[in-house]
Point group: C2
Chain length 275, copies 2
């Protein structure tokens, strides 16, 4: 009799954490070559891993409502430790402090708010970007040297990675259909990672690559677990743009849309760049 074991999805392998014995709230992880960026890991996978530390913490209450990750320094290839600490637990919300360290040096900090949701009046006030259906947009990768991007199927509606010959663009908006590659059911860590899938907006405005990196990333989760599960492994529609570039930094504001016009997350970041 042959036992068939489903292979672990590269995403799950990358965010895997094991509890450190005798140290409650401390988890051990390891960087994944599959999600490597130019320097260190893709920020999205780091953010997802920090969220996962809370998700698998025994004291965790409810689902994620917000997450802010500060990228304080480079993460070296290899092992790391994540300490997740509930700073305050209320009746229906819980606040978290999370730190990723390597050899005792802080590389990444985060805070998160978790909570139990309840039914209320609901309204999505903004509109999803106009886009052809996913099957009508060709899949298109990043340059091959960006390892992490190979784990995403990306179909750019507008604002694909710039062709240096096209020159700078007046608008920094990128809109794309995107999902894990191979496809994987959407959950909170995967959605978190997708919020960082947009390459630096300065590339698009200036029509060239330049040193850039996220300094601080915030995700507001509008989807609960039920709505996420309903997305299955379908592509989501992501859109992001910068609002202001100047003196070495720019901001980015983005949205991730799911089936039937459901706004799954809104996301913001501040990005360092060097021109």
């Amino acid at each position: 009799m042959t036992q068939i074991v489903a292979p672990t999805h590269p995403f799950d392998a990358a965010v895997e954490l094991s509890p450190e014995l005798g140290a409650p709230g401390v988890f051990l992880g390891h960087t994944s070559p599959a999600y490597a960026n130019m320097v260190g890991p893709f920020g999205g996978i780091t953010a997802a891993t920090l969220l996962r530390a809370v998700l698998q913490h025994p004291e965790r209450l409810g689902d994620p409502l917000s997450l802010t990750v500060n990228f304080a320094g480079p993460i070296a290839d290899g092992g790391f430790e994540i300490a997740a600490r509930p700073t305050r637990t209320n009746r229906s919300t819980q606040h978290w402090n999370i730190e990723l360290t390597q050899d005792g040096v802080v590389t990444t900090t985060a805070t998160a708010v978790f909570g139990n949701r309840r039914e209320t009046w609901a309204s999505t006030e903004i509109a999803a970007p106009t886009a052809p259906t996913v099957d009508d947009v060709a899949a298109q990768g990043f340059p091959d040297f960006i390892a992490w991007a190979r784990n995403y199927e990306m179909r750019f509606v507008t604002g694909a990675i710039p062709d240096p010959e096209a020159g700078g663009q007046p608008d920094s908006t990128t809109t794309l259909w995107v999902r894990d590659n191979p496809p994987r059911p959407l959950d909170f860590p995967a959605l978190t990672s997708l919020c960082d899938v947009f390459y630096p907006r300065a590339f698009l405005r200036l029509g060239r690559y330049l040193p850039a990196g996220t300094v601080s990333l915030t995700v507001y989760f509008h989807a609960d677990a039920t709505l996420l599960a309903a997305q299955a492994d379908d592509a989501v529609l992501g859109t992001a743009r910068a609002q202001r570039f100047g003196k070495g930094y720019f901001d980015q504001t983005g949205e991730v849309w799911g089936r039937d016009g459901a706004l799954l997350a809104t996301t913001h970041q501040l990005v360092y760049f060097k021109d």
Copy 2:
């Protein structure tokens, strides 16, 4: 001979902190009745006070780039303690962890990124909202029982506090000219506080007051100290809107504009509400 001493501005009195002797990075403060909200202090003054703890920390490097404040629990009238700790100091950026406690209980947590800016290519990609000049818009207050709002001169261009008889509105946007009352030169704490000056967007959509409170607030500072100083004590143009309401929470995205179309800050928050 009469000595004339300028009275302390209520804002400066509210954010005043004194270092705790023998405990580096720990500061003592006190809530200010002038900035009281329905329950506890106005979130903007709390955020400003947390930022100020870093600003007056002896190890602080550069100016604020981003700040995220998580409102974990109510702050009681009275004294509080703020502990500010640099989690990592790089060559040109510095990351901070900040906690406000009362009697050892965490009420508010924050992270901040500070840094030294340098000249780069710059571009403001979004446009300021259309508005008449400040003198062409009448000053209009909040209901008198909201103490903190008396410290701001507000001139609503659109989306003033709803008149219950007007009913709900289809759009949650508020745009207003706003400055400290009495006028006060703009600085980083004052700008931080202004980022929270927008009353809960659900009031406007539903046309009525309801329980609501910010859970997490993020500010991206686009202005450096020179640009802030150039604003003097002029009114700034603030605008904010919600993107999605549902299951007990909504998000808000906002902008603060200064003289000559300068985008001083972009700001985002996640807000709890009960309908």
